[in-house]
Every structure is written in structure tokens, then in C-alpha cells.
């Protein structure tokens, strides 16, 4: 009941915000929601399945470029976003097949290599991707972008919530905690692990498509290694175990760099780095994890 009310109140606040905040903050919140969608993908993959990816920026690139290429060829935006999800998802399944043979540090390195290769690949196929110049897409008003992005985010959060509570979520968690035990219960590790990768990548693809739509422009420089690492930072700071941690993560990676600029433009990245270290020292479970644990203490105390 409390949770439902909280969600409803939150939805109302999100819906009403553009009326009260300046346009550029509406615009920045659009980015936060798009990042949050991509981070949900990481929560599914890392938090729930126990596999790591340092290369999710690659799926954002696939999503962003799919949308940009389709839209500039006259395909409607809706289809562009769905195609972005599908293509990123398919590539995610492919990476998932590779991931079956790799674990821990080796998987981290393989996905990291994927992230570093993205700008080079985008520049090489310049007839399709526009090379280093990238592709411009027609721009939209910040209000349209805001409601579109938050609407899709709400739907995808709900979907993730339902699926993770069901059989699939249970199977993923069982695989994470003990693969041997999971297999003995008849859970197919090959199927579920590749599924998790594909699902996670599809979310990242949608996030990437929405980011591209907001910027109205894609170019290889957008998808540097820093993007992949930032997403991971967002997921860890938000909290890898809880879905709403992804939302906090999106807000953190969107606004932290901007806030640290306000503190000192010359030392922005230092301020950002120090803030991250402090958070990891004092809130090791991520914001959602630590805060969520307190809430559950309270609840337990009441019971």
C-alpha cells in the first residue's frame, strides 16, 4: 500500500514538474530518465544475474545510431526506438554467448574491449554512420522529449519489476547465488544468462535511442569508454540490488558532472571523483541499498 502510494505520488510529481522548473532542467531530467533506463539494464545484469559489463556504452551506441539512421531515412520515431531495442538486444544475446565462456575479470575485460572499440567502428563505416561528423536528427521540444522519455522509462521499470518478481527473476537470482544449485533445480544456465544479456542490452539500446533523440545528434565521441564507466558508476551508486536505485543512478550521472562544474569549472572532474569516492566509502551499498536497508529495519521494527 505504502509502496503503491509512493509510486503514485512520484508519478504525479514527475508529470507536474515541467510546469514548475526551468526548461533546461526539464531537458536535463530527460537525460536522467534515459540514463536510468540503461542502468536498469545493468541492475538486471550485474545486480540480479551476477555478470559484469564494462561495455554497455556500446549498446547505447547501437541504439542511438539505429534510431538516427532510421529516422533520417524517414522511418517514424516509434519504430526507430523499437528497432533500437531489438538490434541492441540481438547484439546483447551474441555477447551473452561469449560471456558464457568468460567469468569475472575476463568478462569485464572483454566487455571493456567492446566499449573501447565503439568509436573506431563508428568512424570506419562512415557511409552509414556519417563518420566523425556523426548524424543530425530533427530536434523536438523539451516537453515532448520529457514525457516521451519518462513515459517509456515508467513502462520499462514496470516491466522489469514484474519480470524480476516472476520465474525469470527467480531463476536469474538462483544462478547468481549458486549456479550448481540452480542447475540441479532444472534451471538452464545457458538460456537464462544469454537472456539476461539480451534483455539488459535492449534496455541500454532504448536508453541510447532516447539520448540520441534528446541531443538530436549522434557522433562517435558521445560513446567513449567514459560513457560505459559512467553508467556503471550510476548503477553502483544508485544501488545494484534495487530497481529504483537505477533511477537515482541516472540522476547522479546526469547531474553530478554539472554540479561539479558549478563548484569549480577547472577542477570539475576532480570534484566529481572525490564525491564518488566519498559516496563509495560511506554508502557502500549504493544509495538505494543503504537507504532501503534502513527502511526495512523500520518496517521490521513495526512488525
Amino acid at each position: 500500500m505504502v509502496r503503491l502510494l509512493g509510486t503514485a505520488a512520484f508519478a504525479v510529481v514527475v508529470a507536474a514538474l515541467p510546469a514548475v522548473i526551468p526548461q533546461y532542467i526539464t531537458f536535463e531530467l530527460t537525460y536522467a530518465a534515459a540514463y536510468a533506463i540503461a542502468i536498469v539494464g545493468l541492475v538486471i545484469l550485474i545486480g540480479r544475474t551476477g555478470q559484469i559489463s564494462l561495455g554497455h556504452g556500446a549498446f547505447l551506441a547501437v541504439g542511438g545510431y539505429t534510431l538516427a539512421i532510421l529516422v533520417t531515412h524517414g522511418v517514424p520515431y516509434g519504430i526507430g526506438i523499437v528497432a533500437a531495442a531489438l538490434l541492441a538486444g540481438i547484439l546483447g544475446v551474441a555477447l551473452g554467448c561469449v560471456a558464457l565462456r568468460l567469468e569475472g575479470v575476463y568478462l569485464a575485460l572483454a566487455t571493456f574491449a567492446l566499449a573501447t572499440s565503439v568509436p573506431a567502428v563508428l568512424k570506419r563505416f562512415s557511409s552509414l554512420t556519417g563518420g566523425a561528423t556523426g548524424i543530425s536528427i530533427p530536434s523536438h521540444s523539451e516537453i515532448e522529449l520529457y514525457y516521451l522519455t519518462w513515459g517509456i522509462a515508467a513502462a520499462l521499470f514496470a516491466l522489469a519489476y514484474v519480470v524480476l518478481r516472476g520465474r525469470v527473476g527467480l531463476a536469474l537470482r538462483a544462478l547468481r547465488d549458486s549456479e550448481l544449485a540452480a542447475v540441479s533445480f532444472g534451471i538452464n544456465p545457458v538460456f537464462y544468462k544469454t537472456l539476461a544479456f539480451g534483455w539488459s542490452a535492449a534496455y541500454a539500446g532504448v536508453g541510447g535511442a532516447l539520448l540520441a533523440l534528446a541531443t538530436a545528434y549522434v557522433s562517435p565521441d558521445v560513446y567513449s569508454v567514459a560513457l560505459s564507466l559512467n553508467l556503471l558508476v550510476g548503477a553502483v551508486i544508485g544501488g545494484l540490488q534495487l530497481l529504483w536505485g537505477a533511477l537515482l543512478g541516472g540522476i547522479v550521472i546526469e547531474f553530478f558532472p554539472l554540479w561539479s562544474q558549478a563548484v569549480s569549472p577547472a577542477l570539475a572532474s576532480v570534484v566529481y571523483g572525490v564525491a564518488l569516492i566519498l559516496i563509495m566509502m560511506f554508502v557502500p551499498g549504493g544509495i538505494a541499498g543503504t537507504f532501503g536497508r534502513r527502511m526495512s529495519f523500520i518496517r521490521r521494527g513495526h512488525e
Binding site: L5, A19, V20, Y24, G134, S219, V222
Partner: protein
């Protein structure tokens, strides 16, 4: 209970929203960013990330504005330059620029750096009629697309003009050269190659081989080897610094001795020193490049008025972490000079329209940071402020001019 709660929350928030919306003051200032005592400009440079080397452009522009402000400002107004770090990441450039336009109400965006970053903000600034002045990139599109993007204008010598200037020099001085071209496989390298071919006209067939590399390639040994095999006696290096240095060193190591032409973006003293250090003097001796900025490292310029001013400004308003010999710093002061000149020409009545009018009617022949004689001039249909360069040759650790100014203005 729950339903009623939700509804009342909605109602309250809606009321708050409406109150705040109505309460926001509109049009408090007639011209954003301009007060009787101040002009607010915004800009972005990469202070972090892979392109951080270019940050000195922003820092030195700021130093020049500080100097101007201490000498009375522009028509009684002081220039405040809000320069932010976009880490060379286009979405971040867009967000910072929107914040500067909508929250801080900057008058114009000045000297934002990088082709992708400027492409990301061009549509937004033009939609909102905010001047995008003197973008720090040589990509030709920022000067040629003015019909669609009238609020955008570049400054530096563009890639297309520079290749044409090389071509003109070659036609006159070595018309029978057998030419090989190493170019970066993107719009930057392609701009150069296309323009060189166009300038050579029928002689373009003397380009016996053109080999490309990717900006991410670890080295350029194999394309350089293929160029050597073509039997060319002249090599154009249309490359960014890292690959350009590697190419010069590789050519020397192969014992090949062609006449090398090098893009100005890679011809800074620091890069030439690196190439000399990694190879031998043979790697850099005799290399020809082009320039439109004054060289602060040239002893002949020690008493030049512009360089004296340059050094005085660096001493009085030291930009953090900037080397006085850094050509990018000269660039920063030079472009800031043009900005101040534009604001002066616009006059006391500053509006965004008026500043664009001034920026498209430049006629500046006294920019002290540019090579003697280089003009900064524009018309509404020629939006390339700098179209003249002098060719320079590298010998014994220094650049020396070998030609008069060559123009690509028609």
C-alpha cells in the same frame, strides 16, 4: 482513502505549479546578457578528456578579456566569459549551452571547441537565435551552411582553404611533383584531400597514391610504406598530431626523402620537437606547413608589438598550466581580439541581430596575434574570416616563412 490522497496530492501540486509558472518574471532584460556595465558570453572547451590539450584556447581568450576589461572594457562594458568543461562530449556541450542560454542568459556563445560539439549545439542556438560566434574548428560546414544556420560563424583558416593554399604553392613551385597523400579517414582528412584535388585540377592525376588511416590506429607504418612504394617525391600529411608525428618519423626511418607538407593543426613546435626527438633531425628538416598565427617561439618576433603584448598579458593574467610557446594560446588571444573588435563595431546598442551583422561585416587588418598582413574579413555570403596563410619551412628546430601570404579568397 488512497485514491483521495492521490487526488489531493495532484491538486496541491497543480496549484503550486500554476502559481510558480505565473510568478516567473518574463522579459526582465530586453537583451539577454547585456547590462550597462557588462556583457556575458558563454563558451565550452575540453578541460578534461582526450582533447584537453585544446583548453589553452579558452584560458588564453579569458586572459585577453581580463586585459581588455582592465583597459576600460568595450564601450564601457566589461566582458564576462563563462567557459565550461564539456570533456569533448557533445551531449554535455548541449546541456551546458542550454543552461548558459536559459539560466545564465548569456548574450552569445563564443569559441565553443570541436566539430562534433558545435554540430550538437548548432540547431538549438539557431532555433533560439543565439549567436554561435567564431567556433573553434576548421570544418568547412560552419562557414558554408549560413543559409540554413545564419547564427553560426567560424574563425580559423578552414581545412578546405589550407589545402587549396598548399595546392597553389605546389603548382607554382613544383608543378611536376609526384604526389602521395596520407589522410585521416574522416571529414577532416577528406576535406583536405578533396580540396587539394580540386585545386590541382588537371594535375590531380599527379597524385599517384592516397592512403588513409583511422584516427584510432596505433601507428601508420603500413600506409606510409604503401606511399613510399608508389615512387612519389612529395608527401602531404593530412593528419592530426599523433599520426603526423609517427608519419614523419616513419618516413625518415625508411630512408625516404620526399618533400613533406604538413597540416597546420599538427605543426606546433611541441609536435615538431616530439618528431625530432623520436626520429632524428631528418624527420622534420625541410617539412613545409602553413600558418596564420604569429609564432611566439620565433626569435625574430621578440620585438614584435603583438608578441610583446602577448607576453605582457601572459605575465599579468597567467592562464593556469599554459606554455607561452603553445600556438593554441596565440589562437585564443587572436579569436578573443576578433570578438572584442566585433563588439566594438556593434556599438553601444548591443543586440543579437546587431552582433551578427557586425560579425558578417568584419574588416580587421590589425589583429596583433595573427601573422603580419593576415586579414580577418567577412561578408554575409563569405563567412570564412581567415582565408590567408603563409607557408613555412622547418629547419634546425625553427619555422621560417618561405612565401608571401597566399589567399584562397576570391
Amino acid at each position: 482513502m488512497s485514491k483521495r490522497n492521490t487526488w489531493s496530492v495532484t491538486a496541491i501540486i497543480t496549484v503550486i505549479a500554476l502559481t510558480l509558472t505565473l510568478g516567473i518574471p518574463t522579459g526582465a532584460q530586453s537583451v539577454p546578457g547585456v547590462t550597462p556595465t557588462q556583457i556575458l558570453l558563454g563558451g565550452t572547451h575540453p578541460y578534461s578528456g582526450p582533447a584537453a590539450g585544446y583548453a589553452s584556447i579558452g584560458k588564453c581568450a579569458l586572459a585577453y578579456f581580463a586585459y581588455v576589461n582592465d583597459h576600460g572594457g568595450v564601450n564601457g562594458r566589461k566582458i564576462v566569459y563563462e567557459d565550461k568543461d564539456d570533456a569533448y562530449n557533445p551531449p554535455q556541450t548541449l546541456q551546458l549551452v542550454r543552461q548558459m542560454v536559459e539560466q545564465d542568459h548569456v548574450f552569445a556563445i563564443f569559441d565553443s571547441l570541436g566539430t562534433p560539439s558545435n554540430l550538437a549545439i548548432r540547431q538549438y542556438l539557431n532555433d533560439n537565435k543565439v549567436p554561435q560566434l567564431y567556433v573553434a574548428t576548421g570544418a568547412t560546414i560552419f562557414g558554408s551552411d549560413y543559409a540554413k544556420y545564419p547564427w553560426t560563424i567560424g574563425w580559423q583558416a578552414n581545412y578546405h582553404d589550407e589545402a587549396a593554399i598548399f595546392g597553389k604553392y605546389l603548382l607554382k613551385n613544383a608543378p611536376n611533383a609526384k604526389i602521395a597523400v596520407l589522410y585521416q579517414n574522416d571529414d577532416f582528412g577528406q576535406d583536405y584531400l578533396d580540396s587539394l584535388k580540386a585545386t590541382l585540377g588537371p594535375k590531380a592525376s599527379q597524385i599517384v597514391k592516397a592512403a588513409s588511416y583511422e584516427v584510432t590506429d596505433p601507428d601508420v607504418t603500413s600506409p606510409v610504406a604503401s606511399l613510399k612504394a608508389s615512387g612519389a617525391d612529395t608527401v602531404f600529411i593530412f593528419a592530426t598530431p599523433k599520426a603526423a608525428i609517427q608519419a614523419m618519423v616513419t618516413i625518415a626511418k625508411m630512408g625516404w626523402k620526399p618533400q613533406v607538407y604538413l597540416t597546420s593543426v599538427s605543426a606546433s613546435q611541441a609536435f615538431m620537437h616530439a618528431a625530432t626527438g623520436a626520429g632524428t633531425a631528418a624527420a622534420t628538416d625541410g617539412v613545409i606547413s602553413a600558418n596564420y598565427l604569429k609564432d611566439p617561439s620565433d626569435p625574430a618576433n621578440a620585438t614584435d608589438k603583438g608578441i610583446v603584448l602577448y607576453n605582457a598579458i601572459l605575465a599579468k593574467y597567467p592562464p593556469p598550466g599554459v606554455n607561452a610557446q603553445d600556438a593554441n594560446c596565440v589562437y585564443g588571444m587572436g579569436v578573443a581580439f576578433t570578438m572584442v573588435d566585433t563588439l566594438k563595431r556593434t556599438g553601444k546598442n548591443l543586440t543579437r541581430e546587431a552582433v551578427m551583422e557586425a560579425a558578417t561585416h568584419l574588416n580587421e587588418s590589425d589583429n596583433p596575434f595573427l601573422y603580419a598582413g593576415v586579414k580577418v574579413s567577412t561578408t554575409p555570403t563569405d563567412r570564412f574570416p581567415i582565408r590567408e596563410e603563409v607557408l613555412i619551412k622547418y629547419n634546425a628546430g625553427a619555422w621560417k616563412p618561405i612565401s608571401g601570404l597566399i589567399t584562397n579568397r576570391y
